[in-house]
Symmetry: C2
Subunit: 172 residues, 2 copies
């Protein structure tokens, strides 16, 4: 088993409106101010953004720096009525290596600044990498919902997963 | 700009047949021996695999430990006839933080061992994280091909991207 320590340095920072608490899952951001969500790269990496705007979607990898809890191997995701699942079957940020992964849309690129659709990270989150989301590689049209499939209210849960605002019934 | 050093430790190791050279992009692995591609987790993380098999696809995040070159901000991806694109618009492993990202299928899980479809990493690659690929979050049906779109032989290039074996005409 590898024991080595792997050290990374941020390539920039993610700016969001979430200075205090972040929504648990990405906010739908087709509306909203352009300024709300942006990546600010170290100037020396600006040239690496060439051609990135040709992609509709990109992956962001980031360090979930506000996570202080120790990971546990089973978790109860929000809105699942207490269902317990394995940590690696969840998107909980409390992981052995708290690397966050989000798919976002590019809205604009201006020098070292990439304006994106919404994502559920704290303001000041260290950005580790940007990769193009390539249809041929990354769009799995036969992907499923995993354990979410078994939940009676999967469609409701999906609204939470996608961060789409909606109203709850008094029992919801 | 954040200056901090971020340190991770592998949660396990990726075993592949590629001890010397890896194919540039994932190998289609609907055939092939089950033993060929597997993740071996540290025993203490085994319990975190609960429910993972309910997902058809998973993300793997790993440290591209064999990369020795220094990253440059523009690259010429293979099979693109010399086209130069920004590093962050490419999937080159030579990046400021050499974190690899692959989407693979689960074939079986047995204790701390996850058997997967093929991926283009060297044997012994340190595994950083496993996340479920959730249709609702990750399948972007309107994703595009970015700069690949402009290439006359995009469909041929796509075969390379997907790692599907095919024959070349005498002209390449």
């Amino acid at each position: 088993m590898p024991e080595l320590a792997i050290t990374y340095s941020p390539i920039g920072v993610i700016r969001t409106p979430y200075t205090d608490k972040a929504p648990y899952q990405p906010v739908q951001q087709s509306s909203g101010k352009m300024e709300d969500f942006k990546l600010i790269l170290e100037p020396s990496f600006s040239a690496g953004l060439k051609d990135l705007a040709s992609f509709r979607y990109i992956y962001l990898l980031y360090h979930a720096h506000r996570v202080k809890k120790q990971p546990v191997m089973t978790v109860r995701p929000p809105w699942t009525h207490g269902l317990e699942v394995g940590l690696f079957a969840s998107r909980s940020p409390v992981r052995p290596n708290p690397i966050g992964l989000s798919v976002v849309r590019i809205r604009n690129i201006d020098g070292p600044v990439v304006y994106t659709s919404g994502l559920d990270v704290f303001d000041g989150t260290p950005l580790l990498d940007i990769k193009p989301y390539i249809r041929e590689l990354d769009t799995k049209e036969d992907a499923n919902y995993g354990w979410l499939e078994s939940m009676a209210d999967r469609e409701h849960l999906a609204l939470h997963i996608k961060g789409i605002p909606h109203s709850h019934s008094p029992l919801g």
